[in-house]
């Protein structure tokens, strides 16, 4: 229990809540890096997935990119990019973007493909243009699966942003890495608590946003088939045979 009481003392010390190495600064660095990576990943993955999901063309590519993304560990990607990109924000940012694209791309594609073809045909028969079919019919129906992908990517981004401290980056991971280096258990455990809380808050926040954004009718249908297993089920590797 020594670690916990030490951490409580550390976390409640006002000195740790100010300055360039304070908790607020590190928290902002952490959230900035993760959010920036997700925004860039969305800007890349969503247009591609809209195309493959709406037209059905290039679907295998989208799924394979996602499968490849799973096989590359975040820690390994972060360090391997370092000799190529060097110190600074760019290395963790590129790593986070590369890791965030696969779940967003795969889930958006699979969500769009999963929309009932009869519903899409009905929308066309009602005279909707292709862009209207996508934004008014397919997108709302695909939203639960799509949001699950964005949530997975965001939680992973928060986790990987922690590892950025290993290659001299900022963020809350700094407290953990420095805690190890200085053998300061209070700082170490405090960093762990802060990172864990941020990850859980991110996960809960996106789950809440999903509930608010998804139309009630679709939520009902998704709930009936057990939406809980959806994200990992979608991301699982395709059987080789």
């Amino acid at each position: 229990m020594d670690g916990i009481t030490g951490a409580l003392g550390w976390l409640t010390d006002p000195a740790h809540w100010q300055g360039p190495n304070g908790i607020p600064t590190r928290l902002v660095e952490h959230v900035e890096l993760s959010a920036l990576a997700i925004v860039v990943a969305l800007a890349i993955a969503i247009p591609v997935a809209f195309y493959t999901g709406h037209t059905g063309r290039g679907g295998a590519l989208a799924i394979n990119v996602a499968g490849l993304g799973r096989a590359i560990p975040s820690y390994a990607l972060l360090i391997v990019l370092f000799p190529l990109l060097g110190f600074g924000l760019i290395t963790p940012l590129v790593a986070l973007v590369l890791l965030s694209i696969p779940p967003i791309l795969a889930n958006t594609h699979v969500g769009l493909r999963g929309v009932d073809r009869e519903v899409v045909e009905a929308a066309r028969a009602m005279g909707m243009r292709e862009s209207q079919v996508l934004t008014r019919v397919e997108l709302p129906a695909a939203l639960p699966v799509m949001m699950a992908g964005i949530r997975t990517a965001s939680v992973a981004a928060v986790a990987t942003a922690t590892l950025a401290a290993l290659i001299a980056g900022g963020g809350l991971g700094r407290f953990i890495v420095d805690g190890f280096a200085l053998q300061d258990q209070a700082m170490l455990v405090s960093g762990a608590i802060l990172v864990a809380v941020l990850a859980v808050v991110t996960e809960r926040g996106f789950t809440f946003a999903e509930r608010r954004l998804v139309s009630p009718g679709i939520r009902l249908a998704a709930g009936a088939e057990g939406a809980e297993t959806a994200p990992t089920e979608l991301a699982r590797p395709e059987p080789v045979a």
């Binding site: 020594d2 670690g3 916990i4 030490g6 799973r70 096989a71 590359i72 560990p73 975040s74 820690y75 390994a76 990607l77 360090i79 391997v80 370092f82 000799p83 939680v155 928060v158 986790a159 990987t160 922690t162 590892l163 290993l166 290659i167 991971g173 953990i176 890495v177 805690g179 190890f180 258990q185 170490l188 455990v189 960093g191 762990a192 608590i193 990172v195 864990a196 990850a199 859980v200 996960e203 809980e228 297993t229 990992t232 991301a235 699982r236 590797p237 059987p239 080789v240 045979a241």
Partner: protein, 213 residues
């Protein structure tokens, strides 16, 4: 860019890292499978425990690995135990979920037929339900194994890490060759373990191969 002579001179070090990585991974998967199996059976007995158990495993899965290892250090130190507790905790959600999904996907008629043939509970589980659930369980094993191969690297911060240790040393010494060797071998290791699991699944479920042909 790559110092091939270093690789040639240090095959022992590299091989040792691969073995360490493999041992850390397999230990976590095997123990994780046993715990998940027990958890799945408990959930099937007591439905009410499903929510709390999956929620607990879900939170463990959400906590970033570096934070989880850091949190354990004051209790279990810079040891293999710390590494394994962290690694095992990441297998639980994936494995439990897939074991449950596999068991629940079995048609009720199959269960009734087994009961009708006089199978006892454990006999039905081992002889009928587990074999039928195996493809879904093996899918979970594959996802868990690839995930753990990646997470083992992070245990480099607590002095383990296998190939992650090699990469971190390469970073600290500003020696890219070590980084590239670690990177490539990790991905190869993940792919090889995945292929082995596919082969095991084919061996264990010969009937699915026949059905596909």
């Amino acid at each position: 860019m790559i110092r091939w002579d270093w690789i040639g001179d240090n095959l022992g070090v590299i091989g040792g890292s691969v073995v360490d990585h493999l041992v850390l991974t397999i230990l976590a998967i095997v123990i994780g499978l046993v715990i998940s199996f027990v958890a799945a059976l408990v959930i099937r007995r007591r439905r009410i425990l499903r929510g709390p158990i999956t929620a607990t495993f879900g939170v463990l899965y959400t906590i970033p690995s570096l934070a989880l290892f850091a949190f354990l250090v004051p209790f279990t130190g810079l040891t293999l135990v710390t590494a394994e507790i962290g690694l095992i905790s990441y297998t639980l959600l994936i494995l439990t979920r897939n074991i449950l999904a596999g068991l629940e996907g079995i048609p009720a008629e199959v269960r009734e037929a087994a009961d009708g043939m006089g199978y006892t509970g454990p006999q039905r589980l081992m002889g009928v339900e587990l074999p039928l659930a195996l493809p879904v369980i093996m899918t979970g094993m594959r996802v868990a194994t690839v995930t753990i191969v990646g997470l083992v690297m992070v245990t480099a911060v607590i002095g383990e890490g296998g190939l992650g240790q090699l990469m971190l040393r390469g970073f600290n010494r500003q020696f890219p060759t070590m980084i590239y060797v670690g990177f490539v071998l990790t991905i190869v290791l993940a792919l090889v373990l995945d292929l082995i699991l596919v082969a095991i699944q084919r061996l264990l479920t010969p009937w699915s191969r026949r059905a596909a042909a």
